[in-house]
Symmetry: C2
Subunit: 206 residues, 2 copies
């Protein structure tokens, strides 16, 4: 979901940016070192100086997503939006635009890597996990900020996980069908669920 970055000056950052782009577009296993060198305009000597293996680059890419979630994903998604529940749906709309702009081939790079790598080495799996937890924690903060607009019985951590589930399941089907309709159906159902939760909270309020 990080599209705004322009080519950095230093070689290490250019290689990481190449990894961000190519792992998301082609997949990790289909991306060769030669592909990465061409995309980064780098030589193999500098590549292996910074990243002894392709997996070392993958770890750096996953750390970039982890550290970049606020400046690169959330800040642009939430620019000018104060309502915490509107923020949840504004973030989902970012993924819809990514699907729309790519002919439904590009959605969530973390989700793609999570299922492409069937048995990822532990440090890779942990960083995928950390990225999911980071995303969920930011949504949970929105839900906590919504306060009395949600029923008292709502578990905001559970609901935040469900928002990520909706995004990832919707992206998976949209990519497979090459159509936005399953993504839209999923978000519309989630929105209906939120509307019902808000209606219950209004009944609870004194």
């Amino acid at each position: 979901m990080i599209n705004q970055v322009t080519a950095p000056d230093n070689t290490r950052d250019r290689i990481i940016l190449a990894g961000l782009r190519l792992f998301a577009a082609k997949g990790y296993q289909s991306t060769s070192i030669v592909d990465l060198l061409q995309e980064a305009d780098a030589h193999s000597g500098s590549f292996y100086h910074f990243f002894p293996t392709k997996q070392d680059l993958l770890l750096a890419v996953l750390k970039t997503y982890r550290d970049g979630i606020e400046p690169m994903l959330l800040a642009p998604a939430w620019d000018g939006i104060l309502d915490p529940i509107a923020k949840v749906f504004a973030l989902l709309a970012v993924y819809r635009r990514a699907l729309e702009n790519s002919g439904c081939t590009y959605g969530c790079p973390i989700g793609s890597l999570a299922l492409e790598l069937h048995e990822p080495d532990p440090p890779v799996r942990e960083l995928l996990s950390v990225n999911f937890y980071g995303w969920v924690n930011h949504i949970r903060a929105c839900l906590d900020a919504a306060g009395g607009r949600l029923p008292r019985s709502v578990n905001t951590e559970q609901l935040a996980v469900f928002v990520l589930t909706t995004m990832e399941g919707g992206v998976m089907q949209a990519r497979t069908h090459r159509s936005l309709s399953a993504f839209d159906a999923s978000v519309a159902s989630l929105k209906d669920y939120f509307d019902r939760l808000e209606a219950t909270a209004r009944e609870e309020s004194p």
Copy 2:
């Protein structure tokens, strides 16, 4: 989700079963022809006689899932269950057991293949798509059978897609975290949504 099959007598079926097992366990790209020959106890001559390429086997595997959804997935999941909404959650419970029995490494083989293959050839993508549509259509039939237990405003196709979204998004996170909790959180949220829909339908009924 097809675990019940025992080794068939004929070589072609043994190779397809090997594909079912290994593509789900290791991924498509990580499974070699040698792996398949060993698993199927077959010789390369017979393999290439039936399947000129590994992709031809993948197509046969995806057709087996498509054609096997009723006998191999739904019939065991719904054995003895008549309530159409209980069927929806009984099917989700099958995926939970698959995660539980595999230490959260195995969930839905179609979802895994859908995201592993970033740019699948058109016949592969179409069969992945057909498998998703088949699953959704069976859930939609349950929701249609539930009739007046859901509000009149509910679009059963949209809601059926959302059930698949819940399963796939929950499986993805469970596999990544190696923990059932995100799957359980997703299904619990979906159940709460269904409970609210049923409550609305009760208010609508005369």
